[in-house]
């Protein structure tokens, strides 16, 4: 029997690598650290350039997983140790306790009686969930998760008695699993750069400076505001919004590379604004507008359908008007050579992407100075774990990685 392929990361790249490999005949183990698959794209309202919801493709992919006996999925699992070599790896993974077992029917009775709350990381802190929660409406697997640290006094008894299926298991323990696999596809993706490091941009200091991923949650019909874009300070619609491009990217002090998607993301988000109010203004402060290939059409669409002013220049500072909580953006307009000050209702930082594993040392995994995986001989990287990419190209690399992985197990 051929050894299985281990895919680390259950975002769009990892899911793609897993289903593509399994549909080509390989046995696949897919490991995800969160309680649901989907990764970053599950947090997006729309993909550019089609403005279609990522859950549409995820749903098809979940069905491909459901119907394929060759794929085994583990959520809440993280790799702790890799040993061995190409063709013959031993991998240890820790499975964090979900405190909810497979009996869960996702009926939601537990959530109703639970009083304790926790900050939703899925929504980047923009709302809270109950201590027992479904990761999101299209979670896969469709099972609740319990955050024991967020339980209010008496919650545990309440949720346990509310559950008719004996699905709550507060004594569940962390488990360590060992896998013997032929090869590893590394698809751990990216995280937004830490915006608080960009001190001149006021994130964390001013309520109405948000990140582009937070903007996605605000625009999402399942998000904290039900899809209405409302600024945090007073829940009003921002009529004038500044997008700060290359927030952290193309910057020697932060991320030296270009993050590939942020120009397109801001154009897309300008369209979100226009959809809610055609009069809404977007100011995009940029170095270069990077809409490669046929994404150029999307640039034209955004220019036609949204009220966008492009200002070539890097934002120097952001200040807050303490009365209105509006923000004053200072930048140099490179084309006119003039310093400009723009008062806006909301600032969106087009944050760069950083590899999820940046700063984490995983034995057996070779990374570059920024944390992108470079080892090709053995562990196969794809998607944004390898380099900053858009979804389409990520999936091309993931499909290619599936082939490289199959070649390895055939030989091994």
């Amino acid at each position: 029997m051929k050894k299985p392929i281990l895919v680390v990361g259950g975002g769009i790249s990892g899911i793609t690598a897993a289903v593509e490999a399994a549909e080509a005949g390989a046995e696949v183990i897919l490991i995800e650290k969160e309680p649901s698959l989907g990764g970053r794209v599950a947090q997006l309202r729309y993909y550019f350039p089609k403005l279609c919801p990522p859950n549409c493709g995820l749903e098809i992919n979940y069905r491909r997983i459901k119907t394929n006996p060759r794929i085994e999925v583990y959520t809440m699992a993280e790799i702790t140790e890799i040993s061995g070599e190409k063709g013959n790896y031993k991998v240890k993974a820790v499975i964090k306790p979900r405190y909810v077992n497979d009996n869960c029917t996702a009926c939601g009775d537990c959530e109703k009686v639970c009083e304790g709350e926790r900050v939703s990381e899925f929504d980047f802190g923009l709302r809270k969930t109950k201590a027992i929660y479904l990761p999101h409406p299209m979670a896969f697997p469709m099972k609740y998760v319990l955050d024991k640290s967020a339980l209010a006094p008496g919650d545990l008894e309440r949720i346990m008695s509310a559950c008719k299926y004996n699905a709550i298991d507060p004594d569940m323990k962390e488990e360590t699993l060992e896998f013997e696999v032929g090869t590893i596809i590394w698809a751990t993706g990216w995280k937004p750069y830490d915006a608080t490091k960009l001190d001149n941009l006021g994130y964390g200091k001013y309520a109405n400076v948000i990140t582009n991923m937070q903007m996605e949650r605000l625009a999402s019909p399942w998000g904290p505001t039900g899809g209405k874009i409302l600024r945090p300070s007073d829940q009003s619609f921002p009529k004038k919004v500044a997008f700060v491009q290359c927030a952290g990217s193309r910057d020697e002090n932060h991320l030296p590379y270009c993050s590939y998607i942020c120009c397109l993301a801001s154009l897309k988000q300008s369209l979100y604004l226009a959809e809610q109010d055609p009069e809404a203004e977007a100011l995009i402060f940029y170095i270069d507008i990077r809409t490669p290939g046929r994404y150029e059409k999307f640039l034209r669409r955004a220019q036609n359908e949204a009220r966008i002013t492009f200002i070539k220049g890097k934002v120097a500072k952001i200040e807050e008007d303490p009365e209105t909580k509006d923000l004053i953006v200072t930048a140099e307009d490179i084309l006119s050579g003039k310093k400009i000050h723009e008062k806006v209702n909301l600032v969106v930082l087009a944050l760069g992407m950083q590899p999820s594993i940046a700063g984490i040392n995983i034995k057996g995994l070779e990374v570059d100075e920024n944390g992108f995986v470079i080892s090709e001989n053995g562990i196969i990287a794809c998607g944004c774990a390898k380099m900053p990419l858009d979804v389409m190209t990520s999936n091309e690399t993931a499909t290619g990685a599936a082939l490289k992985a199959i070649q390895t197990i055939l030989r091994g």
Binding site: C56, I60, G400, I406
Partner: protein, 735 residues
């Protein structure tokens, strides 16, 4: 199926809101052999119970009346026993409520209309669902894998011997597959082979390296599994995946090979620079394209074409003919990087030479910013945003370039020895069919699809970049999307995987994405065919050919099981073992229709199972209310809704019929390209028929929703319900 067992779960509010005994009776009435109810059916005990009863009674089919098929898919799997999932939980008890004026949920015992408690309607719905589940299984046949009589070929044809084609060929061969590589030139290597160097395709992405194809060519040429045809073109492809017959013209002689799957990597042509006379091309000798400059660099001849004088300064005009409504509308993706590389050539050849790069937006995407920085650090390279407004002959053979809107704020005049135009790529699919398919729908990829992408053989699915409308044919490299060499290598691996994967599917006898698991396929009863050709015209994947009389000739391995042909057929002679006219008809007939004058309407909804159905499932999780009037039948695609469904439902007495499917148009979300759009056209015809019967055309309505539009889906169903209330009862009730 003959022996159908019914299992009703009583958990998750099902037992609380529904009268289980009544449901059991309904199941028996419909012909179930045995009916059981059990709490927590998805538990281990529940599953064991079902298994035991299957054994005991020899059921060949079971109807699980519990939750949505989207959950517990792994629990309710009983091998060869056919399973139907009746969606009582999400479909009824979590989504059908009587709401008070303030939107609060009222008791089921409350009157819905005077004298009829809501519970009655809820139970009528639940009984219909239980009966429909059995009715479906009664007509259901177990699918059998499609096994062609002829032995399938597992050889992969790669069209194009450039970096993408070479990579695809090697990767497929290294996975154990035989490959036929067809290259139209006399040598392999494509454009990359003609280069002096290119940006490195791996970490640290900072340097230029000799063309990677040299190594690829020698590996391909020495690989026993790869047969290379040079000076060759594909003149004809007939047959179907696994059984393609491909004619190759090799230097005037024709050969035929058997092929399983195809990677299309025929690349691009540089944009026709003669159209760029406004930038001096053709008029000024010292204005060349980046392709010509690459040749000069490869030969090491950095001299002016006009007089052979050494080149001391070069100005690169980026976006020469690109992102330009008079030329190419798109960005070619590679040219910023290529121009930076070429600036490096001249700087390395002569440390005193200067390079000027005039760009609009510098697009060194992602990690290639590293390469850009190496040029930014070079004092001999002048980079500025700007617009070239004039290119003319200067003094002493120089070219004078006027640039406006620069970063320096003013108009610049730059005199250089040579101007290089960074011209774009045109995929060869923009100019001809390349594949030369012997398909009823034409020799190339569908033109309406190509037009969406400026002639590129691209996919409209962000999630599925290799999706094509010609099964087992996958594009890679610069014919697929504008791309760099590094991306072309990755892309070619992906395309090779897809080709291999499609062969695995053919061998196993099932469909490829998006219905990978599907073993059933359309079977056509030709005796009744009227040669109307709708099926052969409408198939989004060109799966059907035609004989000389106009009868459809199916090619099953091309088929993606969307059911568009099934939906199109006016004779209703196309059917699947697990999805047929008879099946849906039987389901509709199994429902109970109140007599005329009952006072409450009944609506039928055909819902696309890919997007609209999950949206309604999620609405149920959020306990949103869908009118109790609706009977929902999920369909694989709205394209698979035959007009007979509408006729059956109308003649049964349904007062209105709603179709919910995916968005169509330029940014279509239909997983089968055209399904919802075709359904819309068909429903327009239905509306005309309704009018002839003096019925309101609005009684049959199609709406589109995306998967995340939960509220929207619910709203549309409620609005439709309200609209129908404005009409009289369907006069065919009780016929």
């Amino acid at each position: 199926m003959e022996k159908i067992g019914v299992f009703i779960c009583t958990s998750c509010d099902i037992g609380k809101r529904l009268d289980i005994a009544e449901l059991e009776n309904a199941a028996r009435d419909q012909g179930a052999v045995a009916v059981y109810n059990k709490e927590f059916l998805c538990s281990k005990e529940g599953k064991a119970f079902i298994e035991e009863k299957i054994k005991e009674n020899g059921f060949d089919a079971v109807s699980i009346c519990a939750c949505s098929p989207r959950v517990n898919y792994d629990v309710f799997d009983f091998g060869n026993v056919a399973v139907e999932r009746v969606n009582l939980r999400e479909g009824i008890v979590w989504s059908r409520f009587l709401l008070g004026e303030g939107g609060e949920i009222l008791e089921d015992t409350t009157d819905y209309i005077e004298g009829i408690p809501f519970k009655n309607e809820l139970m009528a719905l639940a009984k219909d669902y239980v009966k429909m589940g059995i009715a479906k299984l009664q007509v259901y046949k177990l699918p059998e894998p499609f096994k062609p009589e002829e032995e399938i070929s597992k050889t992969i044809l790669v069209i194009g011997g450039g970096v993408a084609g070479l990579t695809a060929a090697l990767e497929a061969a290294n996975t154990g597959y035989d490959v036929v590589l067809v290259e139209k030139e006399k040598e392999l290597g494509g454009f990359v082979a003609k280069m002096k160097a290119h940006c490195e395709v791996k970490h640290p992405f900072k340097n230029i390296v000799p063309p990677i194809v040299n190594e690829l060519i020698s590996q391909v040429e020495s690989n026993e599994k790869i047969r290379v045809y040079k000076k060759a073109t594909v003149t004809n492809i007939s047959g179907m995946p696994g059984l393609f017959k491909v004619k190759i013209n090799v230097d005037g002689k024709e050969e035929e090979v058997k092929i399983g799957a195809i990677v299309l990597a025929a690349g691009f042509k540089p944009y026709d620079a003669s159209k760029l006379d406004s930038l001096g091309y053709g008029n000024i000798k010292n204005v060349v394209t980046n392709v010509q400059f690459e040749e000069m660099a490869k030969e090491g001849k950095f001299v002016r074409p006009s007089d052979g004088a050494p080149i001391k300064s070069v100005l690169f005009i980026l976006c020469a003919g690109q992102r330009d409504e008079n030329h190419l509308l798109y960005c070619s993706g590679y040219c910023c990087l290529a121009s930076l590389k070429q600036a490096k050539y001249i700087r390395e050849a002569d440390p005193d030479a200067k390079a000027f790069i005039i760009y609009d937006h510098m697009r060194t995407m992602g990690i290639y910013e590293n390469f850009y920085k190496t040029l930014q650090d070079d004092p001999g390279v002048f980079l500025t945003k700007g617009k070239v407004v004039e290119v003319s002959e200067g003094e002493d053979g120089e070219v004078k370039v006027i640039v406006e809107e620069t970063l320096l704020g003013e108009k610049l005049e730059i005199n250089v020895d040579l101007v290089v135009l960074a011209i774009g790529m045109v995929p060869v699919t923009a100019e001809g069919p390349v594949l030369n398919l012997e398909y009823r729908q034409g020799p190339g990829l569908p033109t309406d699809e190509l037009e969406l992408f400026y002639g590129y053989a691209d996919s409209n699915y962000i999630c599925f970049p290799y999706e094509t409308r010609r099964t087992s044919i996958y594009a890679a490299g610069a014919i697929h999307q504008p791309m760099t060499i590094a991306q072309a290598i990755e892309d070619a691996r992906g395309a090779a995987l897809k080709a291999i994967q499609s062969l695995v599917a053919i061998e196993e006898g099932h469909a490829v994405h998006p219905r990978t698991w599907d073993f059933a396929y359309p079977e056509i009863d030709l005796k009744m065919c009227t040669q109307c050709k709708r099926c052969t015209e409408e198939c989004p994947f060109g799966a059907l050919n035609e004989d000389e009389k106009g009868n459809p000739l199916p090619n099953i391995t091309r088929c993606r099981r969307c059911g568009t042909c099934f939906g199109a057929c006016p004779q209703r002679i196309i059917n699947f073992k697990d999805y047929s006219i008879e099946m849906v008809g039987n389901m509709i007939r199994a429902t109970e229709m109140p007599e005329q004058g009952y006072g409450l309407y009944r609506l039928m909804a055909f819902i696309c199972e890919n997007d609209a159905f999950p949206a309604l499932d999620m609405a149920a999780f959020q306990k949103k209310s869908i009118p109790v009037t609706f009977r929902i039948i999920p369909v694989r695609c709205l394209g698979a809704v035959n007009v007979s469904f509408v006729k059956d439902a109308m003649s049964k007495g349904y007062d209105g019929i709603l179709l919910l499917g995916c968005k169509y148009g330029e940014n279509y979300q239909c997983h089968f390209i055209k399904g919802s759009e075709l359904a819309n056209t068909r429903m327009e015809n239905v509306a005309e028929t309704l009018q002839q019967l003096a019925l309101e055309p609005e009684r049959v309505t199609l709406h589109t929703v995306a998967i995340d539009e939960i509220e929207e889906a619910v709203k549309k169903m409620n609005e439709f319900n309200e609209e129908i209330k404005g009409f009289e009862e369907n006069p065919f009730k009780g016929w």
